[in-house]
């Protein structure tokens, strides 16, 4: 029998709530974390709204030393380390002077320390390379976040960063799952983070994929599955989960949030309609079907789908793919929701924050509402029953949630969580 893998700790830094308690409350209330971002306006962005978690200077000092904060300017690492340490503490694991060879981390990101890199480039071009000091490399290397986390917690197993665009967080969970199942680690702290700000978001604004129609009404801007969806709203933050072998969790008498049944990652190869930015639907369907098969469940066992659903024209394509892969439609289709309606698209952090939301729903027994979806797109409601797109919270005992993420490069990931 294969090693079973469970979740024993959660941490989150989201635009609508920092810490699991605040985040859970925000999920229940359908609280938006999207606000007007002055810098985007000043720099002439079409989209002038975004999601940035609120972290005060005092709050930073609960996690980072003064020395670590000297010359620190990497919001992704900040969010990632806070979420990771919260998840570790939530799992009641010790932070000691000793190294723990049975615990590792796979903590993903898209880019690291974009603003730090900008500072460095200005100094360099000004012929002041020496003045970069010692802080640039650790904050701008892609694996900066896992390096910070590994050091803060004394992790002695694999310490690495994965990167697969907006699939990153979901992929990290499956990578950690595989490692535990292979017997190579007892615990893997998995998750992902994303920087905030204009230097990361500018490229998306230029591609005209961001919503520019709600600048006066930020909280209404992110509208997955809605007829008036007008592009995604950029977000940022981090999500973290402690994955652990069931044996280790039981031995420690740890609180178990849920079980990770498994999943699948694949790619559409940028063939058959797939491109750098658009998915190959056949591959998406295969990813979902394989995830269901790998987990030895049936499509109808899925209570809730936490979709990728970014609020672009691709939302309908995604629902078509779910429907086709699961062979379910109308009222047979599972409940479906998108956290992006509240926090926007947190890019590399999206998968992990959304997985944390999925696990919270399983543990507490509720389905969070889709906000800004009062006008469901006709194509969608003709394929699946509108009652499956909750606009108000549903209190309900849940057994299985499927979470999928899709990313640039035509990459897909689908993970399945089960109540323990």
């Amino acid at each position: 029998m294969k090693t079973r893998v469970v979740i024993t700790g959660l941490g989150v830094v989201a635009p609508n709530g920092v810490g699991i308690d605040a985040f859970t409350k925000a999920l229940r209330e359908g609280k938006s974390g999207i606000r007007h971002i002055k810098e985007m306006k000043d720099l002439g962005f079409s989209c002038q709204i975004g999601g940035i978690p609120e972290i005060t200077e005092d709050y930073k000092r609960k996690y980072f030393s003064e020395l670590q904060l000297k010359g620190f300017n990497s919001s992704g690492i900040l969010y990632g380390a806070i979420a990771a340490i919260d998840a570790w503490k939530d799992a009641q694991l010790p932070i000691s002077e000793n190294i723990d060879f049975q615990s590792g981390t796979i903590f993903g990101t898209g880019t690291s320390g974009v603003e730090k890199f900008r500072e460095a480039i200005y100094k360099l071009d000004d012929k002041k390379v020496k003045r970069l000091g010692s802080t640039v490399v650790a904050q701008t290397m892609a694996s900066g976040v896992s390096a910070y986390i590994g050091g803060m917690l004394g992790l002695g197993n694999q310490v690495s960063t994965n990167s697969s665009a907006c699939t990153t967080g979901t992929e990290a969970i499956l990578m950690g799952f595989d490692r535990i199942q292979a017997g190579k680690a007892k615990r893997m702290l998995v998750g992902s983070c994303s920087d905030h700000g204009v230097y990361l978001w500018g490229g998306f604004d230029a591609m005209r994929v961001l919503s520019y129609k709600s600048n006066q009404n930020p909280e209404k801007g992110s509208r997955p599955m809605s007829a008036s969806a007008a592009g995604f709203v950029p977000g940022s933050g981090a999500g973290a989960l402690v994955l652990e072998s069931l044996e280790s969790a039981l031995e420690r008498k740890a609180t178990i949030y849920a079980e990770v049944l498994g999943g699948e990652v694949n790619s559409g190869g940028q063939r058959n309609g797939g491109t750098m930015t658009a998915p190959n639907s056949k591959a998406v369907q295969r990813c979902i079907t394989n995830a269901v098969e790998n987990c030895r469940i049936k499509a109808k066992d899925i209570d809730v789908i936490n979709g990728h659903l970014t609020a672009t024209s691709k939302d309908f394509t995604e629902i078509e793919n779910w429907s086709e892969a699961l062979q379910l439609k109308g009222a047979e289709f599972p409940y479906i929701n998108s956290l992006k309606s509240m926090i926007g698209h947190c890019l590399a952090a999206a998968g992990s924050i959304e997985c944390v939301a999925s696990v919270v729903q399983l543990k507490e027994g509720f389905i969070f509402p889709n906000i800004n979806c009062e006008d469901v797109k006709d194509e969608i409601s003709s394929l699946i029953s509108e009652t499956k797109i909750p606009k108000k919270i549903i209190e309900k005992d849940l057994n299985i949630i499927a979470k999928a993420s899709f990313g640039f490069g035509d990459v897909n990931g689908c993970v399945i969580f089960k109540k323990y």
Partner: protein, 85 residues
């Protein structure tokens, strides 16, 4: 030339954010070694030197930088650079 005690006090303030050994820091004197006594991370040593450059408005060349491993050597380099100005 600056008063030695005054300069030690100034250096002490500059290294404060980087030290990992409080006792050695409390007893900081001319013979204190930045890495062995104060346990400053070797990567942070370049930051200490950048802070010195800023504080004393100096430019310290690579060779001089290599010598600045303890308080005494650092003071010598600073004094030399000030006198060259």
């Amino acid at each position: 030339m600056r008063e030695k005690t005054e300069m030690i006090a100034e250096l002490k303030e500059l290294v404060k954010p980087y030290i990992q050994d409080q006792e050695a820091f409390d007893n900081l004197n001319e013979d204190t070694d930045f890495i062995n006594d104060l346990k400053i991370n070797s990567a942070n040593l370049v930051d200490v030197i950048l802070d010195i450059e800023e504080k004393f408005d100096l430019e310290i060349d690579n060779e001089s930088m290599d010598k600045m491993l303890n308080v005494k050597a650092a003071m010598e380099v600073i004094n030399t650079k000030i006198s060259e100005k």
